[in-house]
Symmetry: C2
Subunit: 344 residues, 2 copies
DNA sequence: TTGAAAGCGATACCAT
DNA sequence: ATGGTATCGCTTTCAA
């Protein structure tokens, strides 16, 4: 293990000078700097991140913590964030929270707050207070923070506007009986859930229905747990089993659920889009190549990653700088594909 | 930031005693230990991983480095490994190599060899010698190591046996004109590629064809780069454009390519499985719910993760213990689904 | 069984 | 512009 002392010795300078030179501090003479860099290169030196982190509290590593990595949306999102971090010359390390409180706490208190300069975190089961305590003041940017009263910076998906666009699209395609899959309306009565992803998507749906002058029937909103393919697939079976399928257009509030829904309908002999139009939300890669390809509200992952990383780097550069948390929203796009091309 | 000195003070013992007590060293009296643990709990203490790592070279963090995290196979594989690591009470951090030499080197030399106790690595563009130099002797387990002369421990997917099973299945389904998508036969003539995933899968195909007494036509083996959905989709188009589709059964050496192939065929009006049977390799989650669902050689990810982590932990516990690299192979299973159910 | 003190490899203050 | 040195928080001899 070659250390900075070795480099200093090789370059015939002090450790302090070597340290400054390697980091490009301006007060070191250009000639000295070149000499040190050459020595470091010769010895194939690379700084010890633990030591650096211990002493200075910084090591150029950013943590990304997100729920299941084997699900398309979180894995594609974390991949995009990781690329963006790399583009800024820093290293990204990704961890899965498994949507478990225990894992979230352990990630924040151990790895994140000790090995990383900052964190991009998709919160699930920890409160703002706990996060405050666990991160020891290190910068953190939340993804889709559901807080009613935000404490941390965050980047949101355009849930309300996106959902509104989705339902408006179904209406424009001529759907009359629209179903929404993911959550029931009760969530809107729960003040603490006001900013949850589910509530924001639902309220977008209501807006679109209102604009389209449609009366809303509470049982068109179907809660589902968990938000995954299998749940949606089962739901398709139970809806189909009731006789006539109750909807001619379905908005599933995540793409995974939409694909599960299509698959379930297929198993029941109901064809998308011939019999029912289906639209999703997220824009996972799989949606483009499914059969039928899925119309979806596609979150611009590069934009989201860019915004999250920018905010984090900004926090990193002005410690204790700001008091008011920033909240930005990622761009989205309606990707019209086969699943909503009703044969009329 | 509460440190061990704080805990020691609170418990009225020395720092050394606190350190031993917290780690459960047996020479500390049970009573003292309880006292220290209580103090730590009271102060909500948690050890600084950088400091621990700097001093002892160990911090309970395992690195996992794999290519694109937004592709189903690597993301699902790393999720499984991460879970397995957590099950052993350690933390996993995941990084993407992006299949780029530069990223691989930077991950190994910086994060992995400095912040982690050991690494599970999916090699792409670095040689064994480089890895030896970059990891500074820290344990490493490779995934699908292509080395002809292995230097590190590794866990392999059952490429040869799996591919053989896949082609045998197509034969059993009555296919007469079998195509293999992923690599052409030239790779088998390249000694250095002998143990590559492509070569091993191809040789499995040849075995099955031989057993089935089929003559092999070199142009039934089609190289593709990169191994992804889009490439396979394009290939389907160009094959279909030649007039009669040349195959009645296609083995794509990854599931992603198989799904792309099915989608491409669909776009050309060729139906799977009615017109062509398609089988994949990997067992990604998406294969089960595609329309049609995909028959595949499914690598047992839990088994692979278990084997990789076991080997790594073993290495960790007996430093410089062994000289001969171990090479294990993960279990696999043929999952027969709709895509090979020929309507005959 | 416990404690004192050295040291892991860097950084950053303070001198020079 | 450069160097000496204390220090980050922890582990680990070595003594007591």
């Amino acid at each position: 293990m070659v250390t900075m002392s070795d480099v200093a010795k090789e370059a015939d300078v002090s450790r302090a000078t070597a340290s400054y030179a390697l980091r490009g501090d301006t007060r070191i003479a250009e000639k000295t700097r070149t000499k040190v860099l050459a020595a470091a290169k010769r010895l194939n030196y690379s700084a010890n991140l633990s030591a650096r982190s211990l002493r200075s509290g910084r090591n150029g590593v950013i943590g990304v913590a997100i729920f299941e990595l084997d699900k398309p949306y979180p894995s594609q999102m974390s991949a995009a964030i990781s690329r963006e971090i790399n583009a800024h010359g820093m290293q990204a390390i990704i961890q899965q929270t498994m949507n478990s409180r225990e894992d979230e706490v352990s990630i924040l208190r151990r790895v994140t707050s000790q090995l990383c300069d900052g964190t991009i975190f998709s919160p699930g089961n920890v409160s703002n207070e706990e996060m405050k305590a666990l991160t020891h003041g290190k910068p953190i940017v939340l993804l889709d923070d559901p807080s009613v009263r935000p404490v941390f910076d965050s980047v949101m998906t355009a849930s309300r506007e996106g959902a509104r666009t989705a339902v408006a699209h179904l209406l424009a395609q001529g759907c009359h009986r629209i179903g929404v899959v993911g959550s029931d309306l009760a969530i809107l009565d729960e003040p603490s859930m006001k900013n949850s992803v589910a509530a924001r998507r639902l309220s977008g749906c209501l807006e679109a229905l209102e604009e389209g002058k449609r009366t809303l029937s509470p049982d068109s909103f179907i809660g589902l747990e968990p938000w995954d393919e299998d749940s949606a697939r089962s739901l398709a079976h139970s809806l189909a089993a009731q006789g006539d399928f109750p909807f001619d257009g379905v908005f599933c509030i995540t793409d995974s659920m939409a694909l599960g829904m299509i698959r379930g309908l297929h198993e029941c002999g109901i064809s998308v889009p011939r019999d029912v139009a289906v639209i999703g939300f997220d824009g996972i890669n799989e949606s483009a190549s499914y059969i039928p390809s899925l119309t979806t509200i596609s979150t611009d992952r590069e934009d989201l990653a860019h915004k999250a990383v920018s905010i984090l780097l900004d926090d990193l550069n002005q410690p204790d700088g700001r008091t008011k948390p920033r909240r930005q929203t990622a761009r989205f796009r309606l990707d019209v594909r086969e699943s909503t091309m009703l044969g009329r």
